[in-house]
Symmetry: C2
Subunit: 530 residues, 2 copies
């Protein structure tokens, strides 16, 4: 998960160093912190800036040529390119409309958020300028840490209060900086749970979860945040605080505008408060780890699980043998749950319900059917929490194992379930011995995590993967980003999953809400800053 | 439920009859049917039209004065007023920007949709010009009945094809004119069911359900259409067909624009195709009819039901004694399910699950607890389908009974559960013997249907009810329209539930998507056509 707002730029590392760093980015958003002209372009007033602007522009084009590796979906002279977890990569030109940070800005910020909340300590800035994967590096010279919505918004870590919880309706209202796991612990004390769960729960913030429309492990059961978020407070780029922080399950008074900010990746407004519906925490949880001989059987088992487990099914994850081997080979303390024979596919199935006996009985009936029909050839049901955790650790550890194995090219795709694994097989045939292709993910949601592991990053290999992977996904009516968002890496790929009319409408929304492009620039939409 | 697009105007019945009727309304939407000028205002070219426009305007102001009954939220010189199911009421001035229907338009329409699809038969027009409650009457002189998205959209009844269904994922794709009940029947054959159900299922269309964000009886279990709709095809007012008809459960490529059209009441675009996630049809259904002595007990039972029934709880409805009496007194074949003693409150609780024994056992444990704690004082569990239906008929029949009883003032409110019934009691104290105040609704969703029954419509009575009911709801952070939408009757009340900043943003959306105001005019937003 990305936090709600993360500044990721590296443009300055090429070209002559500007004498003044123009900075009017997410930091410049919020009440009382408008650009001094209502149009950000009005800030480009000195010959100095214009000259610098031109220089950077020219230079950046050259840089771009150097790293241009061809992509059929490219729609502008600029391109961002990233190679899995490598630090090698891309540059991007700073948006010409942005202002330059001056001493008087610092004083102004101090007046608004207080001296201690204006941070220019080198180490703290260094940390804040790099995203959590270490892929991108920004150049911000100041970090603001507001304590209230009325202040400016960048790092919301200090906005971490739970505002209310209603035990009758299950409605939780909290500030955007609350850590997901903390919320879940708070709810557990009241017999409730968060409708979403993900590996990063110990550090990710609910505001970021909402802004990125996080999916995760409970999606199959509780559905999308578009259904579970009841209200939001959002700060628009012009500083308007839009209070849509309703706590009602039903409210049909006008357009449901909050939806635009769910998955908006912080490009339309900054989410500052969240109201959401939380389900009751159920006491009985069972986990089974099963093996199938082929992908068709995996699908049959999914259909069977929906029928036989019905209302208690809470997760249906799958991994192929290469994924399992990846985890077993590269992580410590891993054990094959089904060591007697290697199979091609594995399923991790979880049930969550209110009555242990009922759930176990349902699981037994389901497993009996699955084995009798031959769709499941081997399997084990966790006998205690420690076994459940061990099964989950395999599934959740694959990403970490891939990072340890070497270079990795990662794709998060939605594909109709019936076609989903075909892409893995075609990719494997295409790449031969040059890389290890693995497929795993949330099968119940049609969400494939396709990963290609190689000894080192290699442009030739990348050219074999892209744009093929996007074209294939597009041809099969899939999505090139299921749950991770487009962010900085994939705006150029939006056309593979969205029609030109739809993208055009998104651009109109962006221009309507953020005409100066100051919110989380260079993200989601292609070419908007050109 | 309102159909997706319904033309409701009566302006022409006052003032001098215009020589030419300007008509450029929902009918004028769609590919190839743009106004001849890109701005509808460009159509006002002759002195004739301008003169007429002024005349109408003046006259309408006078009419308005006659019926002005005072409302604190009024923001313009115009007002719509409606009295329950009475036909007495309001007028509205025709939007000056709209064009006048001419012979050449008819010919053009015939060319686009074919002669048989251009209807000007008087009886058919009469039927199409009146809404289903008979509250409003329009003045359209022509009805178009398109057969494809590329044609213009008004009555989508002929667009009723199921386009695809995937038995693995449960994803259904269909045209907007499909009748809800037909879809449910189709799905039942495949072991699935629609995630929504409502009394009007035999006649309402899925496009209208989506456009009004219909709630209904399965909301508690399957949640809102914002979570269940996976994709839409929408025709914008400028004729652009926006294909957002994805079939994926997860797709984070850009803003989730389809959400704007869910509950947009046809004012931003016309929904022509729908893709939605359908749950497996579960075999076991139980219905219990319980009595409580006070409202606090009802709340306690709701909390208990969430804990003990957990994943099988599928409906939690409530009605007060006056509601039950209303149904018993005015509908034929009704019987009090708990005749031994009259209680103040009744609950209808339904479970739906995959295993009959499990569900019955859960229900037994729940009921035992509810009775032991004294929260439930009487109750009966339906022994067969016919008893279940009888219980449901009471709950669903209240609206019909109210209509038979006389004049009725209807309010569909979302209010935090703990405060919900207080409004009914305050209203009762306020009105005394002048009217019967009843409260019922979807308690599990915090949705109160407040109804005030009187021998006849009376402005004095109305002034006692409004704006009190809206102010009270607003003070308790409720919504003045939970599931019915704002439509034609309540745009003036939007401010009770939405902040000025939010309404302003809605107006911006409307202006962005429908700058000429040709889509479903006079609905949702206040004053937009002034």
């Amino acid at each position: 998960m990305r936090p709600a707002i993360k500044l990721v730029r590296k443009w300055w590392s090429y070209g002559p160093k500007p004498q003044k760093l123009r900075i009017w980015d997410p930091q410049a958003v919020g009440s009382g912190l408008l650009p001094r002209s209502s149009h950000a372009r009005g800030l480009h007033q000195t010959g100095d800036h214009l000259q610098h602007s031109n220089l950077t522009y020219k230079h950046s084009n050259q840089v771009f040529k150097d790293i241009d590796i061809g992509n059929t979906s490219r729609r502008s002279g600029f391109q961002m390119r990233n190679f899995g977890s490598s630090t090698m990569g891309s540059t991007i030109l700073r948006d010409e409309r942005f202002a330059i940070l001056e001493e008087c800005d610092i004083h102004y910020f101090q007046k608004v958020v207080g001296e201690r909340a204006v941070i220019n300590d080198k180490d703290e800035l260094e940390a804040a300028n790099v995203d959590w994967l270490g892929k991108f590096k920004g150049a911000s010279q100041v970090l603001l840490r507001p304590r209230t919505t009325k202040q400016v918004i960048v790092n919301l870590g200090a906005m971490n209060k739970i505002l209310s919880f209603d035990e009758v309706s299950g409605v939780l209202v909290c500030e955007a900086g609350c850590i997901l796991e903390n919320l879940d612990k708070y709810l557990a004390e009241h017999g409730f749970t968060m409708p979403l769960d993900l590996g990063a729960k110990g550090s990710c913030q609910i505001g970021g979860n909402v802004s990125t429309n996080a999916g995760g492990l409970r999606f199959l059961r509780y559905g999308s945040l578009h259904g579970n978020v009841l209200g939001l407070e959002v700060v628009l780029p012009d500083g308007t605080i839009v209070d849509m922080l309703g706590t009602l399950r039903k409210d049909n008074t006008g357009y449901d505008l909050k939806q635009l900010f769910i998955g908006g990746e912080g490009t339309l407004g900054v989410v500052t408060k969240v109201s959401l519906l939380t389900p009751a925490k159920l006491s009985s949880v069972n986990v089974a780890f099963l093996a199938c001989q082929d992908y068709l059987s995996c699908q049959e088992v999914l259909v069977l699980a929906k029928k036989k487990l019905g209302e208690v099914l809470s997760a249906f994850e799958f991994l192929d043998r290469s994924s399992l081997d990846m985890a077993l080979d590269h992580l410590e303390g891993m054990r094959d749950p089904l060591p007697s024979a290697k199979q091609k596919f594995y399923l991790l199935i979880e049930t969550t319900g209110s009555n242990e006996n009922h759930d176990k009985e349902k699981l037994d009936v389901f497993l009996e059917d699955a084995v009798r029909t031959g769709h499941v050839v081997d399997g084990v049901v966790a006998q205690d929490n420690s076994q459940s955790s061990a099964f989950w650790r395999i599934r959740e550890g694959i990403a970490e194992a891939l990072n340890k194995a070497g270079a990795v090219y990662k794709y998060d795709l939605s594909i109709p379930v019936k076609d989903l694994y075909q892409l893995v097989e075609e990719m494997r045939a295409k790449l031969g011995d040059s890389a290890i292709v693995i497929g795993y993910g949330h099968l119940g949601d049609g969400n494939l995590h396709l990963n290609i592991s190689a000894p080192k990053y290699d442009e030739k290999l990348l050219l074999q993967i892209e744009p093929f992977v996007y074209e294939w996904t597009s041809q099969h009516k899939g999505s090139v980003s299921a749950e991770h968002g487009l962010g900085f890496m994939k705006p150029h790929a939006i056309h593979y999953s969205k029609t030109p009319e739809t993208v055009q409408l998104m651009v109109k929304m962006k221009n309507l809400l953020d005409p100066n492009g100051i919110l989380n620039p260079y993200k989601v939409l292609p070419s908007i800053h050109i």
